[in-house]
Symmetry: C2
Subunit: 317 residues, 2 copies
Amino acid sequence: MHIPTFDDVEVAHKRIGQWTHRSPVLANSHLNELTGANLLFKCENFQKAGAFKARGACNAVFGLDDEAASRGVTTHSSGNHASALAYAAARRGIRASVVMPTNASATKKAAVLTYGGQIIDCEPSASAREAAVAELVANTGAAFVHPYNDHRVIAGQATCAKELLEEVDGLDALIAPIGGGGLVSGSCLTRSVRSPKTKVYAAEPEKADDAYLSMKAGKIISHDAPDTVADGLKVPLKDLTWHFVSRYVEDILLVSEREIIDAMRLVWQRMKIVVEPSSAVAVAAVCKSKEVFAGKTVGVILTGGNVDLDALPWSSS
Amino acid sequence: MHIPTFDDVEVAHKRIGQWTHRSPVLANSHLNELTGANLLFKCENFQKAGAFKARGACNAVFGLDDEAASRGVTTHSSGNHASALAYAAARRGIRASVVMPTNASATKKAAVLTYGGQIIDCEPSASAREAAVAELVANTGAAFVHPYNDHRVIAGQATCAKELLEEVDGLDALIAPIGGGGLVSGSCLTRSVRSPKTKVYAAEPEKADDAYLSMKAGKIISHDAPDTVADGLKVPLKDLTWHFVSRYVEDILLVSEREIIDAMRLVWQRMKIVVEPSSAVAVAAVCKSKEVFAGKTVGVILTGGNVDLDALPWSSS
């Protein structure tokens, strides 16, 4: 297990600077009144390819030597990591082949194709996608870039909290949604070196509460096929992210599907920005757990803005 | 007719600074590729009360002497000027009474109430709303603040272009949607003093093309009851805005309802920000009239972000 260090984060930040945005940090008076906290939103919905995933993907892709890069890259992902990897590969001028489940959203598939990525369909199960990737690696020699259980990816995602901590002094807490845990792991890594007093919280859907249960149990627990509107948060922790999450996360806060949708709508209505349901999970947790955050300065990572505008969750609810 | 000067704009900018945002200017690589222009979006959708209208309303409200202010303010408006005036009045601690047509959007009515404004319903016709306002002024002595045909309002809206021109050098063109013409007039006023080489364009829905027809005819032409998805742009020019528009606007560009909706969706999808249909009219014009803007540096004012999330125009189309 290759555990990334903060040196890796600094290298990553230099490496990806040319290919990623330093995303803006926004505040909103209505949300501050609502929560009693001083909330600072790191807007990764404005990131290249529409999500923080561009950071880890660019770090992995631009860290390859020329010979490895020439064989292309591959991954399995139902969403933002897929398009981020396609984006990074296109910038480097190499091939990206992405294994996507047949039930992945049309918008996210379209994004992969926009960046010139190749999609390989597979059944929506862990075994099917792993088999598909293994076959692809065997045939092409492409470099596999796991969506989160990869030291290069975690070091890349860690640059998000690095930018936020560089811009904002005295952050009492930092909260991000947790799926596989790449962003939360990176945030823990940065915070340990740059701002040890900042507490890191993770927010998770009740209907995909595997990280919460893992923390309770002291070992990784994974759900078979969780179903939540926060489609980026269905995947379980793996050894590398478990390393960070189990040691450095202050607490994991759960929110219901209704709370996620309401928070997403609140952000659109009041902040006038487009965020996807997974982003709203962190906002929902801050709105729900007022006693944890009131009176505090809190960084909230809005992870992405890739939404199917024809299927908004409040239209069907 | 009291024609505002750039001195009035400078006074306005100081007066409203405490109550309005200096809104951000965003760029987007996809939209640049699409149009061949260097587009800089002045994001008034992030403005207080969700639209540039807060500028003019705050200038009018905070410019009143104490005695006049004590009798409150009033206006007629189907939308953003109404909530902007209620917002400004609330900040000053005075009463705002707004005459709104019975067919005004529920979201925009709710915004007025949120800021503590009082709504007086009227039939959706010019004569009905003018009668209702006249009665209110007679009864209460409230100061009437016209949505656009008012020198204080135009001077306030002019601060938007002032900020943009302070932030961006060498703007070849500036484009904004046109309804009553308050924002376009203010933009002309600022540009005449600060950047005479910058050409001002107005964008208008084909289905509410009264400003376009007025320019052709050389006199104000108004439609009886135009119907467009860009609900902020249904009102006609008046003498004060005609003064600026007839003299200083380079051209008025027309766009169809389909083009407006497509541009709105494009901004949401690619820029990840929530803009209302009226804002999208300017974007649609830039996308449509490529020959006018290609190779140029163009400021585009995104006027507002107040949208009914339950009735998005592409859901019904």
